[in-house]
Symmetry: C2
Subunit: 239 residues, 2 copies
Amino acid sequence: MKRSLCPVNGLGAEEVQADAARAVTRKTLQPGATVIQAGEKFDGLYMVRSGFFKSSFFDAGGEMQVTGFHFPGEVFGVDGIDRGYYGDTVTALDTSCLCKIPFSLFTGGAAPARGGAPDARMQALVRLMSGVIANDRDMMFRLGKMDSRRRFASFLQDIAERMQCSGFSRDAFRLCMSRTDIANYLCLAIETVSRLFSQFQALGVIGIDRREVTILDRNKLRALAEDADRECAAWGKAG
Amino acid sequence: MKRSLCPVNGLGAEEVQADAARAVTRKTLQPGATVIQAGEKFDGLYMVRSGFFKSSFFDAGGEMQVTGFHFPGEVFGVDGIDRGYYGDTVTALDTSCLCKIPFSLFTGGAAPARGGAPDARMQALVRLMSGVIANDRDMMFRLGKMDSRRRFASFLQDIAERMQCSGFSRDAFRLCMSRTDIANYLCLAIETVSRLFSQFQALGVIGIDRREVTILDRNKLRALAEDADRECAAWGKAG
DNA sequence: CGAACGATTGACCGGCATCAAACTCGGTGG
DNA sequence: CCACCGAGTTTGATGCCGGTCAATCGTTCG
C-alpha cells in the first residue's frame, strides 16, 4: 500500500520531528467548510487527523471536477509545491480536524540544520510526490481502460483499503461522500453509479443502507475489479 | 508550457553543470530499440537529444498500455525515482540519441558540494516531478471528460506545441508514432483514431499524408479541443 | 405538511467499440 | 517489371454500454 502516512513521521531524525511538532498547527472544521481555495498562495501541506475531505477544481467550462478524497492520515496540498499556489479547492465532507505543515519544514528554509537534515526532508517530499504520481497512474488506467463496473469495483476496493489504513473497519464503513461526488470522481453519470450500487447489492457483493456500505464478498469484488465479464455473468444464475 | 527542459541546465549553478557534463553519458539507438525495460533497477534519468521515444507498460491482463511519448529536450525515467525501479518500458520510435543522467547528480551523493548545491538539485527534481503530475492531471481530464473528438484534438495540440519546443515546425511535422500507438495512448479504438484523422481533414483543420501532418487551421483545432459541439456542426455546411 | 434535495429506476438514444472488408505501401522473389 | 504478400490504415455495418431525459421515492428541514 502506497498511501502516504504522516510525512513528519517519515522524516526520520528525532530533531526534525521536534521541529515539526513546534511548527505544525491544528484546526477543526465543520462539514462543507473550505480548507483551501484553488489559486490560493501555497504555504504548506495538510494532514488529515480526523474526518474526510474532498479535492476539486473548476475546469475551463466552469464544471466542477472532483479529483480525490482524503482520509485520516493522508496528506494533501502537494499539488501546490512547484507552482506556488494550490490547484484544488479542498472542502471538509464531515466534521474534521487537520494539521497544517509549513512548507519551510521541507525546504529547510526555516531551520537550516547542521547535518544533512534538509536533504532528508526533501527526500520525504519526493516520496510524497512519487506517491501522487503512482496514484494518478492508477486513476488514468481506470478512466481509460475500465468499463463502469470495473471502475466502480476498484473504487470500492480503494476506499475499503484506505478506510482500514485510517483505522476503520475494512468491510463496513460509512461513505463520506455523496453519490454525485462519486460519479463526478469516477467520470460517470450519477444514475450509472446508482445502478451499480444496486447491481452489486443484487449480486451479493455489498450491502447498502443509505451511505452505510458493507462489503459482503471481498473475492467477488476483486473479481469484478479485475475481470468484468466472465465469472460475473455466471453469478447471475448460480450466485 | 510546462514541458521539462534539460534538468542539467535547470540546475543553475555553473559548477553543478560542470559536474553534470562529466557524468552524463550519450547513446545512439535504432528504431525499435529498448532503452529501459520495465522493472529494471533505477539508475538515472534520460534526456532525449534527438529522435522520439515511447513509454509503455503491460497491465495485469498482459495488455500493453502506452503512457507517453518523448520528444527532443524532454526527460523520462522519473517514475523510477522513488520505487527504485523503472515502471515503464521505453523504446525508440526512430533513430535517436539520448543522454543518461546518473541519479547521484540529484541526490548529491556523488559530489557533496560545499555550497547549497544538493538542495538546488533536489529542487530541480521536485520541479520535474511536479511537471509530471500536472501532465498526468491533463491526461486524466482528457480520458475522463472528453469525447473522442476533443481528446484527439487536444492530442494534436499537445504534439504541435511539443514539436515546436523541440525545434520543429509547429504546423507541419511527421508523426513519429503509429496509429495503433496513438489509439492506445488515447484509449480509443484504432478505427476511431483513423476516422478522426479523416474527419479533421474533411473539416479542413489538418492535412494528412501518411504520417505527415499539416495543421491548416489552428483556431478551428483549438475550438475542437475546447467545445466539441456548437461551432463544429456549423462548419459542416458553412466551413 | 409541503418543499427541496438526493437517490433510485425506467425508457430511449447516441457515441464508440467491434466485426468485417477493401485499400495502400514497402519489401521480396519469380 | 510485375506478382505476391503482410502490416498498417481506411472505411463501412452493426451492436452495446453508458449518458440523457424523465418520473418516482425517501429523507430532511423549514
